[in-house]
């Protein structure tokens, strides 16, 4: 049952898939009304249905982006799932840094939403001796990036996954909100990058975190994205995926035994020209 004019939801799904890769599955349809109502207000329309009509009949670039951002999933926490961050701190970062001049590692956090993952990685980097992280954090949503770069979180947000010692060491309290301090904020470069596009210009990375992003894509898009990620990952580099994800969609990566969510580049895989 839909509250929207016939064909509107299907059109929205096609737009989202093209713009952000997001697959609007039927179980996500309930998100349309609450997510698009604020867009309607912002653009001076009276309902989510009106937004969908405009999206079909006279879409502007601005409206398309506003809708894609509003429909994206931004729920995340600091040190989400814990284990990947432990692997990064105890194994991946020290081992790779030992092979790099000055211990310098380029890390890409792809699809960071509101930034907790990038700050988690940065806090690890600041605490590790002989490891010098250069962190790029990206998202397709300008709105998310602005919040992430500001580094301001509610009391609820800073209590999910963030040990209190790290909170008092790296955050400052302003009224009821907590803000990442200047040293932590300066450890991260923020940039708008759409994984649907060509991102070879970003250079080569030693470690890529792309967690809880690919499940929202369809199989072909996941495969293509994994292969594009492989192309910007150093041959001895590592990819972290989310706790429920695998890289089985593509031969570009192989799992590392006993380390769930951690993938290495498969040396047998050759990039298509």
């Amino acid at each position: 049952m839909s509250n929207f004019a016939s064909g509107h939801v299907e059109h929205l799904a096609a737009v989202l898939k093209a713009v952000s890769g997001f697959v609007l599955s039927p179980d996500k349809a309930y998100l349309i009304e609450p997510r698009l109502a604020p867009i309607a207000r912002k653009f001076g329309m009276n309902s989510a249905d009106a937004v969908l009509t405009k999206l079909r009949t006279a879409p502007t670039e601005e409206l398309i982006w506003a809708v894609a951002e509003a429909m994206s999933v931004t729920e995340t926490t600091f040190f989400r799932d814990r284990l990947p961050f432990q692997l990064f701190r105890e194994e991946v970062a020290p081992a790779l840094a030992a092979r790099r001049p000055g211990g310098k590692l380029k890390v890409w956090c792809a699809g960071v939403a509101t930034g907790q993952e990038a700050y988690s990685v940065a806090m690890i980097g600041l605490a590790l001796p002989n490891v010098n992280l250069e962190i790029l954090a990206t998202d397709f949503s300008q709105r998310c990036l602005e919040k992430a770069a500001a580094g301001v979180y509610t009391q609820f947000e800073v209590q999910r996954g963030l040990p209190v010692r790290l909170l008092v060491d790296h955050f400052e309290k302003n009224d009821e909100l907590w803000r990442a301090n200047a040293r932590l904020r300066q450890a991260i470069n923020w940039r708008k990058v759409n994984l649907m596009g060509d991102f070879r210009g970003l250079g080569q990375f030693d470690v890529i975190f792309c967690r809880n992003v690919l499940p929202y894509f369809d199989g072909d898009t996941r495969k293509a994205t994994l292969e594009k990620l492989a192309a910007v990952l150093a041959p001895d580099g590592f990819l972290f995926l989310g706790a429920t994800e695998t890289a089985m969609d593509s031969p570009a990566f192989r799992p590392t035994p006993g380390r769930r969510g951690l993938y290495a580049r498969d040396p047998e895989f050759r990039q298509a020209a």
Binding site: T77, R82, Q155, F156, Q159, R160, G161, P163, V164, R165, L167, V168, E172, K173, E176
Partner: protein
């Protein structure tokens, strides 16, 4: 089964915390102030203590300093659960021997997150 002592002068907070902890398979005991809590700990050290700060008779930090000086008093994981949210207060609690610190209001996700920080779940 792990045991958790809830130390809070508010019956409502104790009730809310008890429900969450029992869902996480803890055996729960309650104390309404620091003196009651010390009495409990002297007979049986719990695995975890959820500790309010501002309480009548004996406050949370005073209790914690005394607990840590008792025989076996370093063993329980102590998580503050308080409306005190200033960084200076948090540092004071950590210096007194707290393992984690939870600012009220809290929910089940936050309590579970704090328990897992201390290795209890």
């Amino acid at each position: 089964m792990k045991t958790c002592l809830i130390v809070d002068d508010s019956r409502i907070i104790r009730k809310v915390a008890r429900r969450i902890l029992e869902e996480l398979d803890f055996e729960v005991a309650e104390a309404a102030d620091g003196v009651e809590a010390l009495t409990y700990c002297r007979s049986e050290m719990p695995d975890a203590i959820l500790l309010d700060w501002i309480m009548p008779v004996m406050d949370g930090v005073t209790f914690l300093r005394q607990l840590r000086a008792e025989t076996g008093g370093r063993q329980p994981k102590v998580i503050f659960c308080t409306a005190e949210t200033e960084p200076q207060r948090i540092r004071e609690a950590l210096a007194a021997g707290a393992d984690e610190y939870m600012m009220k209001p809290f929910d089940g996700d936050i309590l579970e997150s704090k328990l897992s920080e201390t290795g209890l779940v």
